[in-house]
């Protein structure tokens, strides 16, 4: 049996199907994965994301540490509470993990990293933190709920006192704030508006029940995956890993080569790739035109160019067709074929996201 979040018994009570995810026993769906998906696109849903690893980084030189550890530039974080999405790279430019880091004070940043990469992330961060005298604390005392959807913020605000609710509803996009004993952030992984809330573990169960009572649907990791893929968001381990770099993973926008003086881990490897004219591959969106379902590892054939591979694929409940992310040769234009059980099916190359705020987002 794997690790359990503070909400495990509630998931069982709600009839969730439980699967292993990164060493955790997590709910994959409660009733219908497609129903949960639509609840988030049309109203609001709540996800248990307590398996994700929350790490507090404290010390006067924490900003300098993160400037070295992250491919995106924490120098962009000027207002307290602002969040930044970044890759953490190895010396070869490969992605150790993708994460969100919040700037709380000049001596306190908070990172949220993936559950499946927790051990190596903590080891890597600690190794570098020692040089900077930064204290690294995993916040296993916290649970985290993601409340997502067009009605999510209004519903989640009802969990808060009037004063905290007003403050939460004023949060800008990608900004978080401590409100009483909770940390409320306007972030997510679905392509919808919403909050991610970190709270003391004991608060999670009553919060979930109250959200259910307010009409917020319990949603599992299955819906989380179809929502993030429609939103064109990468999943670590599928769409990128230590053997791929950000430029061939659709994550070039998260790499800050300016200012040039900032020496971050992986910088030299990425500059070398740019110096030789860019990466040989790129990550693109695919929309299947024929009937079928795109899945990870299916082969992508690009006429006259070469071949690639699907990194994540699914059926899109919103678009009612199959979509995927695929790593293909850099010269790939707008049409490919995908080998599904020996049949070559036609797919169109698009720029993700596929869906944003409930609507088709590609052309």
């Amino acid at each position: 049996m794997g690790r359990k979040t503070p909400l495990f018994s509630l998931h069982q009570e709600l009839g969730a199907r439980i699967v292993d995810f990164g060493g955790w026993d997590m709910p994959v769906q409660y009733s219908s994965q497609i129903g949960e998906h639509h609840a988030v696109r049309r109203a609001a849903g709540v996800f248990d994301v307590s398996h994700m690893c929350v790490v507090d980084l404290k010390g006067p030189r924490v900003r300098a540490l993160l400037a070295q550890l992250l491919a995106n530039d924490v120098g962009k974080l000027k207002a307290a509470g602002k969040a930044l999405y970044s890759c953490m790279l190895n010396e070869r430019g490969g992605v150790i993990d993708d994460l969100i880091v919040y700037f709380l004070t000049e001596s306190w940043f908070r990172a949220v990293v993936n559950a499946g990469t927790r051990d190596k992330d903590l080891a890597w961060i600690r190794r570098h933190a020692a040089t900077f005298g930064v204290e690294v604390t995993e916040r296993t005392d916290l649970a985290m709920l993601a409340i997502q959807g067009p009605e999510a913020r209004a519903k989640a605000a009802q969990l808060l006192t009037a004063a905290d609710a007003a403050a939460a509803l004023e949060l800008g996009v990608f900004v978080g704030r401590e409100l009483s004993s909770w940390f409320v952030a306007r972030t997510g992984y679905t392509g919808e508006d919403g909050f991610e809330i970190m709270m003391p573990a004991a608060d999670a169960l009553p919060a979930w029940r109250k959200l259910n009572a307010l009409g917020v649907a319990s949603c599992g990791l299955g819906a989380r995956d179809t929502l993030r893929l429609e939103a064109g968001m990468n999943l670590y381990g599928n769409d990128m890993d230590e053997n791929t770099e950000p430029y061939e993973s659709g994550l070039g926008w998260t790499v800050a080569l300016e200012p040039r003086a900032r020496a971050f881990v992986g910088r030299e490897a990425l500059e070398a790739i740019r110096a030789r004219g860019g990466p040989a591959a790129k990550l693109v969106g695919l929309v299947l035109e024929d009937r079928g379902v795109l899945r990870g590892h299916q082969k992508v054939l690009v006429a006259g160019v070469g071949a690639g591979e699907i990194t994540s694929g699914t059926f899109s409940p919103t678009l009612e067709c199959s979509i995927a992310l695929a790593r293909v040769p850099a010269a790939t234009a707008d049409r490919v074929q995908v080998d599904i059980r020996g049949k070559l099916l036609n797919a169109k190359v698009v720029k993700p996201p596929f869906v944003r705020f409930g609507k088709r987002a590609y052309s």
Binding site: Q29, I34, R291, V293, F315, S322
Partner: protein
């Protein structure tokens, strides 16, 4: 608890078999199987005329989560794939033993007798052993 109609035969891999009046058989996946798979979004059925061996993968059912093979419970020649499933794969979820049938076939000589099909009671035991 899954619905397991008493008048059908079953396989350990969760297909059902119904003998029709003309001697052909109709094949689908069980209520337990459709529930385990979740919402189906794509079904690929075999074309009429194809000859299949027992235990040969001959149809594919895909949920949002994953693709799963459906195996021929016995040897024979396919007489029809269910044409409605291309547009309405969810029929397998809503009516697995009726409108959600996958294929019909004419069993090869003796195939129906030699196939190791389970009674409803024995299939219930398979489900109990799986914890379902």
């Amino acid at each position: 608890m899954s619905n397991v109609p008493a008048d059908l035969k079953y396989t350990k891999s969760h297909e059902w078999v119904r003998t029709l009046a003309d001697g052909t058989v109709e094949i689908g996946i069980t209520d337990h199987a459709q529930h385990a798979l979740g919402d189906l979004v794509f079904v690929e059925v075999p074309e009429a005329g194809r000859t299949v061996k027992a235990d040969e993968p001959c149809a594919v059912v895909e949920s949002v989560k994953a693709a799963s093979d459906v195996y021929a419970p016995l040897a024979g020649a396919i007489t029809a794939g269910n044409p409605k499933l291309a547009d309405a794969p969810e029929t397998v979820n809503t009516d697995p033993y009726g409108e959600g049938w996958l294929m019909r076939m004419r069993p090869a000589a003796g195939a129906l007798d030699s196939a190791e099909l389970l009674s409803a009671a024995d299939y219930q035991k398979v489900l109990a052993a799986e914890g379902g």
